[in-house]
């Protein structure tokens, strides 16, 4: 049976959908965890500070593929889909923690003082006053991190997730058309990354006006 171009597209579509299912969950979980840890880290709580630092150093120091294998084979998390989400979220939240901490520390001291003088709790100061203001500063770094995350999803085929690269490899063995197949896969990743970049540029511009155009005095 001959495999047509339409068959190739349909098979890649199934893989792409799997990638698209995993991606927003990883983005969301890594953002939530990274934001919480970044906010805690900015408080410089003695022992906690070192624990979070250790976590960041470990995540920065090991390849994501190794972490994936540890979770899947050593820790025996046998559902590839969940193992992939857990690993990618944990791995990237290490980086996002540092991005968020940097964003919080860049907020002028007066903003913290104004919120404190209103009697807001530490939790509310962070959630209602400080965190909403950091996005303008951290969007470029965050978008960069998400682009790496998007590309890292290609690694999860190693633990058996039938994402787009896995589908591509299967197709290649049947069609012997590696160039066309990998070109399509490359285009898929490029389009997602390009879209994300455009969204980040738009978001940065619209937030910049609100937060920076006040000449520093708000």
């Amino acid at each position: 049976m001959e495999i047509t171009f339409l068959d190739i597209l349909n098979t890649l579509k199934k893989g792409a959908l799997e990638t698209i299912k995993i991606l927003p969950l990883c983005m969301l979980f890594s953002l939530i965890t990274g934001t919480i840890l970044g906010a805690i880290q900015s408080k410089k709580i003695p022992v906690v500070k070192y624990l979070i630092n250790a976590y960041i150093i470990v995540m920065r120091g090991i390849p994501p593929l190794l972490l994936m294998m540890v979770f899947f084979f050593a820790l025996n998390i046998n559902v590839p889909f969940f193992a992939a989400i857990i690993v990618l979220s944990i791995y990237h939240s290490g980086y996002i923690t540092e991005i968020v901490r940097g964003g919080i520390e860049a907020i002028p001291k007066g903003q913290f003082e104004a919120a404190e003088s209103l009697g807001l709790s530490n939790f509310k100061i962070m959630t209602k006053v400080i965190i909403p203001q950091i996005w303008y500063q951290v969007i470029p770094a965050l978008a960069g991190q998400y682009i790496i995350l998007i590309k890292d999803t290609a690694l999860i085929s190693v633990i058996g997730v039938r994402e787009i690269l896995w589908s591509g490899r299967q197709l290649m063995q049947l069609t012997f058309k590696p160039f066309q197949i990998f070109f399509l896969i490359g285009t898929f990743f490029y389009l997602i990354c390009f879209t994300l970049q455009q969204i980040s540029i738009w978001a940065e511009k619209s937030l910049k006006q609100k937060i920076v155009d006040s000449g520093g005095r708000t």
């Binding site: 002028p108 007066g110 903003q111 003082e113 104004a114 919120a115 404190e116 003088s117 209103l118 009697g119 807001l120 709790s121 509310k124 209602k128 006053v129 909403p132 203001q133 006006q209 609100k210 937060i211 155009d213 006040s214 005095r217 708000t218």
Partner: protein, 255 residues
């Protein structure tokens, strides 16, 4: 003295490294009074008022606000009763000015949002910002921002308002619109402690003026008496400089 003691500093010390800002300083502030704190730059005027709502921690001595000792444990309760207006406004840039003003009473005082908004609208009307409530801080002039910051402080229904150089970050033509709002509050008999270099405003609008130098309160007098031949050289020099500079500014303006 208009009423009961609101704030009392008793032998309070505070230093930043080797720099002593308050050296066994004692002073009392009373209910219903507008009390101006003046002194040279770096004298510790801002630190003094920031200690009252625990934005700064004292090193030793006793500092009380009403029935509460100012410390970490009581900070939240004190901040419910004491509002602050900052030199740099410090409005939250991601919120409209109405949202800025509503945040404190709803989240800290647990008041219903519609009640707080209604009160805020009345206050905005009083300071001439009713049309701007859905604007973000970056859409306002300096004077408008400071008026919004005053509304944010007032909407907490505080027993005391602290003003930390409320006009210092403003262009000269905007100072009047802010001092006008503060004058209105003086007429209402609000308790206020104001750090300012606007000595003309201090003379007209305050009940008392204190001069801070070398970590101590050098002199506290009713405003009118403060300007009549102060017995300290430091104060005379300070007044000459401040009032002289103002005069020069005005002359330049006229030219």
């Amino acid at each position: 003295m208009k009423g009961d003691v609101l704030v009392s500093f008793d032998e309070v010390t505070k230093s930043f490294g080797n720099h002593i800002v308050m050296d066994h300083l004692s002073i009392q502030f009373f209910e219903g009074e507008t009390h101006i704190i003046c002194g040279r730059s770096g004298a510790g005027k801002s630190t003094l008022i920031r200690c009252i709502n625990y934005l700064e921690k004292i090193d030793s001595g006793r500092l009380n606000f009403q029935d509460l000792e100012v410390n970490k444990k009581n900070a939240k309760e004190i901040r419910k009763r004491v509002s602050m207006v900052f030199q740099e406004f410090n409005l939250f840039p991601h919120l409209t000015i109405l949202e800025n003003v509503v945040l404190g009473p709803v989240d800290t005082l647990k008041e219903p949002k519609n009640k707080v908004e209604k009160r805020a609208m009345e206050l905005f009307e009083r300071v001439g910002l009713k049309e701007k409530i859905h604007h973000y801080p970056y859409q306002l002039s300096g004077g408008q921002k400071q008026r919004a910051a005053i509304v944010r402080a007032l909407n907490m229904n505080p027993d005391l308002i602290l003003f930390d150089e409320p006009t210092s970050a403003l262009d000269p033509e905007m100072i009047g619109e802010v001092t006008e709002v503060i004058r209105g509050l003086v007429k209402e008999g609000r308790s206020m402690i104001i750090v300012t270099h606007e000595m003309n405003f201090a003379l007209e609008a305050s009940d008392k003026i204190s001069f801070l130098a070398e970590g101590k309160i050098l002199l506290t007098k009713p405003s009118k008496e403060f300007f009549q031949e102060p017995e300290y050289d430091t104060i005379r020099q300070f007044l000459r400089q401040i009032l002289g500079t103002k005069k020069e500014d005005e002359e330049i303006k006229h030219e």
